[in-house]
Symmetry: C2
């Protein structure tokens, strides 16, 4: 079982889109995969539930409403399960973040994670307490980088925090890679930003995720591309290539 | 003196871009305006400083390195000052967020805010502790809404939190408006998202901020459009229209 933490200081760079589509890609490779939504925003699976009933999830486990082993929900893809955020009023976001510190995350996750080959953590924007709690228990860190200017500067901040956590709390943690996302090759700004991160950062991944409107629609529902357009869709296959690249990287680093 | 808190649960919807360009627009109307960067990410003014020296700012005030009255920095536009984030190592983001709770924000800001007509608060993504601390002292809340799907759902969460703060902590707080940003009128998805928020939300503003590459380049430097392209640039004038609309709104609500 290996845990991959998906993090980025910058907002809206594709953390959730990457977490969701990559988890599905690993599952299609036959890995038993769990996606854990650690963002109080709850972007994963909000449309996987029935009607307006939110999926139960981590918040329910933390509050004792659901037992840890009942937290994860199997999706229509048997190898892919989701531990959604669950029921949380946005006015309680501060308390929720505090609840995720200390030992609570371990109590919620330790009973279930061993049953999977891969666990992915989707995190909130920023390098705050929830991101740090996730990094403290992760094996790998994956940093989406929106091929646009502000994102490049914040990539180095994320890498600095990963290094710090490895040196001070979690020696097992490795930077798995920087993943260019929303790449619009027609944009000079995007290409320049990509060039800048190639020059300044180690471990920029070969696979890039292109900018494509197909993602916007799938994200609106909190579902993966392949659930909407099928696993043969080019963008779904791109995540398959990413999963391959990451599996090889996890072997050797 | 009136305080406007710019907030949104969703990342990357334009909070910082709006805060910066709107502050300049108010200043050009003759209002003495202070922009306070409350985001540990520090997106405001990182290129206004010399070489690689970060501007001093709120973090330096909180740490006692700089006196509160020395925190704000006047920009080349005399009516526009910035209280930047200041010197902060990303590994200290959690401590910084904790430091901004309790009375520390008041101690840093109360000595300086009365000298301005308008104070704008740029906040981190999410509805967490920093956003709540800002709302607890603000007169108005402005919620940028990226004309795209996920952003619509999170607008209602932000409005819920604003209502809660008004009812429980800060009776002076008013929702100033929902501001459509990055509007690409050629995109059916964007238009649909706009329609959805028009139907479901009160106080959607008339002025919208169009999607335009000119913003990407200015944001890369953390500077307003008009500093790069002059106050006559169409996008800068659009923020002038927004400032007018908001001034009228502040009069009557
Ligand atoms: N490759 C892509 N092409 C086009 N749009 C994309 C792509 N990836 C993500 N998006 C869109 O960009 C927006 C932000 O994506 P997403 O929510 O995954 O980012 P995030 O980093 O998780 O944001 P947050 O900081 O709020 O957690 C969404 O509307 C999503 O649909
Ligand atoms: N109207 C616009 N048109 C095109 N791009 C825009 C527009 N407004 C903002 N952007 C770009 O979108 C990105 C995100 O903007 P910005 O940083 O202002 O959002 P934010 O909500 O403050 O993000 P965060 O959640 O990280 O604080 C930036 O690269 C910015 O240049
Ligand atoms: Mg997300
Ligand atoms: Mg911002």
């Amino acid at each position: 079982m290996r845990r991959i933490c998906v993090l980025a200081q910058k907002g809206g760079v594709g953390k959730t889109t990457v977490s969701l589509n990559l988890a599905v890609a690993f599952a299609r490779l036959g890995r038993r995969t769990l996606l854990v939504d650690l963002d109080p925003q709850g972007g994963v699976g909000h449309s996987l539930g029935r009607d307006d009933t939110a999926l139960h999830g981590l918040a329910d486990v933390l509050m004792g409403r659901v037992a840890p082993d009942k937290g994860p929900i199997r999706t229509r893809l048997p190898a892919f399960s989701v531990l959604a955020r669950g029921r949380l009023d946005p006015i309680d976001a501060v308390e929720y973040e505090e609840a995720l510190r200390g030992g609570a995350l371990a109590r919620a996750l330790d009973p279930v994670e061993p049953g999977y080959d891969l666990v992915l953590y989707d995190t909130p924007a920023g390098l705050g307490a929830i991101t740090r709690a996730a990094l403290a228990r992760a094996h790998f860190a994956l940093v989406p980088f929106q091929a646009e200017a502000l994102s490049a500067r914040s990539v180095s901040h994320a890498v600095r925090v990963v290094d710090h956590v490895r040196e001070n709390e979690n020696p097992a943690l490795r930077l798995l890679g920087i993943l260019p996302t929303m790449v619009d090759r027609a944009s000079a700004d995007a290409v320049a930003a990509l060039g800048q991160v190639w020059e300044s950062q180690p471990r920029v991944l070969e696979t890039v995720i292109p900018r494509a409107t197909i993602f916007v629609e799938a994200s609106r529902k909190g579902v993966p591309i392949s659930f909407v357009h099928g696993p043969a869709a080019p963008e779904a296959r791109r995540f398959g290539m990413l999963a391959d690249e990451l599996e090889q990287a996890m072997e050797r680093i």
